[in-house]
């Protein structure tokens, strides 16, 4: 089983009622997604991305060709229990609340009540919908629906995550969170297949991509390789003097090449995130001075998400790969090309610091909402600082059990 997803000359032709071929949506597609990579399927509208995903999932049958997902067919229970799927729009039961929605999908996976409850609370926390967990999903905005859609895709702790346009309808903060989440999941050994036409998103997170057009692969390969302009080189420096620039210019001229000098632009996304983070920090300090726990309903989800992301980041102390965590940044700070842009690290650092005062607040406000796992998590938070993804991942089931006992013992002691 070399590939997580593999298709063999996959073809889908939509025909009309009389059987006449109308649309060749996918044609002779040979796709290979390796284990533990983030693979992006790109293409303009109508290029066959979603059709391909639907065939992978058994929602459509190929006209020709074959699909192998995780070594089998995705309609088999043993395979589908390892897949998480987020469709292009969050198709949810409008009359169910967020919590009921997750419970329903958890039941479909046959998860035990205790596991289900724990995961639901963790996921709600992660996608930042804890405050609205008892509201009918039909009343959610598109972005909120997207978050709950993502949560349902993660409830079974999937090995393969298939995301169809994961960031549509999300604000930049939400987009950023999803991207971080995807990277984090990839780091934990998951395979992620996503399709999108938002190129910036794909560029940030995908290891490899394939560009579809007219149902065929037009280009395929590693993002870095595809985008690398082999005929050019880029030098980034500190704020050096004009004299120094002139010296460099001469050196370049002696190589018979040209040089272009400008100040690097910040990405708009990074700028936006900074601004929002700053605004948030301000509003928090004021509310903190006035009363405790009075965070506005609109900001609250983001706050808790950030704290979760912090947990995600700070928990993995033993993690060898460094990824945006505050303490490891100090060690690796001088390594310029450590995978993530410097600005992003600054941002994460900021988020981490900012969320520290917010943390107890979230716990305080949630103590009122009688659910046990919350209390438990609040307690763990301080002691073992386990993160939510750990709770979700199968490989930490023992730890989960331990934790449960721990939590139980703790409560017993309190009583």
């Amino acid at each position: 089983m070399e590939y997580a997803v593999e298709t063999f000359s996959l073809t889908k032709i939509f025909s009309d009622w009389w059987g006449r071929a109308k649309v060749r949506a996918v044609e002779d597609l040979n796709l290979q997604v390796r284990h533990n990579e983030v693979f992006g399927l790109l293409g303009p509208n109508g290029s066959g991305k979603t059709t391909t995903l639907k065939m992978l999932l058994g929602l459509l049958y190929p006209t020709k060709g074959k699909v192998v997902v995780l070594g089998g067919e995705s309609t088999e229970s043993r395979i589908s229990s390892r897949i998480g799927f987020l469709p292009e729009e969050s198709y949810l039961y409008r009359y169910l609340t967020a919590r009921e929605t997750l419970d329903f999908y958890g039941r479909l996976f046959g998860l035990k009540r205790r596991v289900r409850k724990m995961r639901i609370e963790a996921l709600l926390d992660m996608v930042g919908l804890k405050a609205v967990a008892n509201r009918a999903v039909g009343t959610f905005s598109k972005g909120m629906a997207r978050r709950i859609g993502l949560a349902q895709a993660l409830i079974n702790d999937p090995d393969l995550l298939i995301l169809d346009e994961p960031t549509t309808g999300l604000d930049p903060v939400g987009t950023r969170q999803i991207k971080d989440l995807v990277l984090e999941l990839a780091r934990r050994g998951k395979t992620i297949l996503l399709c999108s036409h938002l190129l910036a998103d794909v560029e940030d997170i995908c290891d490899r991509i394939a560009i579809l057009y007219g149902g065929r692969i037009q280009s395929e390969g590693e993002v870095k390789e595809l985008l690398l302009q082999t005929g050019k080189r880029q030098i980034t420096t500190g704020n050096i003097s004009d004299a120094a620039v002139e010296k460099i210019r001469q050196v370049v001229a002696s190589e018979e090449s040209e040089i272009e000098v400008s100040s690097p632009m910040e990405k708009l996304e990074t700028f936006f995130m900074k601004t929002v983070a700053a605004a948030e920090r301000q509003s928090q300090s004021t509310s903190g001075a006035l009363v405790s726990g009075q965070i506005s309903g609109f900001l609250r989800p983001d706050v808790s998400v950030d704290s979760v992301l912090d947990k995600l980041v700070s928990a993995d102390v033993s993690g060898s790969e460094v990824w945006g965590s505050a303490e490891t940044e100090a060690v690796d700070g001088d390594k310029a090309g450590s995978g993530v842009a410097e600005a992003d690290e600054q941002l994460l650092e900021r988020l981490t610091k900012r969320s520290e005062p917010s943390e107890p607040k979230a716990v305080v406000s949630e103590e009122g909402s009688e659910t046990k796992p919350v209390e438990q998590m609040g307690a763990e938070d301080e002691q073992s600082s386990e993160d939510i993804l750990d709770e979700l991942t199968g490989d930490s089931k023992e730890r989960e059990a331990d934790k449960h006992q721990e939590g139980g013992g703790e409560r017993g002691g309190d009583a």
Partner: protein, 457 residues
Amino acid sequence: MRSIWAVAANTIKQALRMKVAVVFIVLLVVLLGALGFSATGDGSLKGRCQSFVSYGLSLTSFLLCILTIVVSVYTLTSDIRDRQIYTVLTKPIRRFEYLLGKFLGVVVLDAGLVILFSAVIYTITILAPRFYDASEDERARVRNEFFTARAGLKPAAVDVSEEVEASYERLKKGGQLEELFKGMSRKEIMARLRKQKELQKRSAAVGRELMWEFEDVKPLDANESLFIRFKYDVSVNPPGYLVYGRWVVGDLRQIRYGTGIETPIYQYDRRDLIRTFYEIEVPAEAVADDGYIGVAFLNFPLNNTTVIFPLDDGLEILYKADTFTLNFIRASLVVFLRLVFLAALGLLSASFLSFPVAILVCLVVFFTASFSGFVLESFDYMSEDLSGVYSYTFRPLIRLLPRFDRFNPSSFLVSARLLSWVLVAKAAAFMVCIKALLLCFLALLIFSYREIAKVTV
């Protein structure tokens, strides 16, 4: 199994929260309340009870049938149209499990609603007479003729085929066939002769006696009564349209064999109008221990006419075989069986049709099933001309329909007839075990092989 229940629970939540079921429930509660006041029947207490039960149960059955069709079709088509099914079927749930979950959800919802509304109708029916000003006599009548479940026994048909054959041959030899039955086929002549002979067996000439014997009569309580329900017909109208007759009821074997009288024998001399139903009340102790009872009728000579008991409803003995409550429960069960069938039908049609089309198909089947007796009869009548084509094409199709009119539960309650467990079992076997199962199987087959995400325009 867990995932089937998850889908079932979700289906029930959907029906209740999307207000589909709620609308029907509110409508039914209002209508039943109104019926409690407005259903007066013929004005008597019995008529009141009869019309309330009849309208109440029919209305409940009708509305729940429509509700079942709507909910079962809606739950599947909306999942497909709004595409929630994408996220459900990509989970480790097989398609047949999903469909079974939907079916189970609708059936459980139906069970709940049938229990709820049966309880409402039952309570109103039981309590209403207390608030109604009626004489003791009227109350006794309601007790005996409404709040009971009476089994009816009709005399077994006498085999007359040999006699008919003989008489036909005789007439043929005598050359009288042409004269008596001009231009009729043999089949038609035989039918006429048969009816004549059968009526002969049910008529008492002047001064003569007729006797019927019944076995397996099992009254619920020997202290209760049993009833002989009869209707006279005559060859010549007697003066004042009155017939004088003597009825002897009891274990008549005791007289015949002279064994001495152990169980009482009752005798009634009566004067009754012709072509009108009467009931003679006889203490149930007249029935012998082995369930035997004989009924004899003597045509007094002064009538001067032959007295005939019409073939289908001329004579019947009725006795309390069960309580009203149990009969009512069985009636509700029959309503529930209908709903199970319709749930299967709804899911089948929704498995490959869109909402409006599926609803239409289900309604057509529902109404045809409600008049299936009539439909079958009219086709049978037609079939004399196109028998070959018809009997191999339409008839099996129509036979596939359930026969709602044949198992109409409210008619049993109105006439206080026993709706036996046997009949309920029959309805269950035909409607659910065979027909609904077949529909479910078809639905599973279609649903398992269709492309869920296929967009059909």
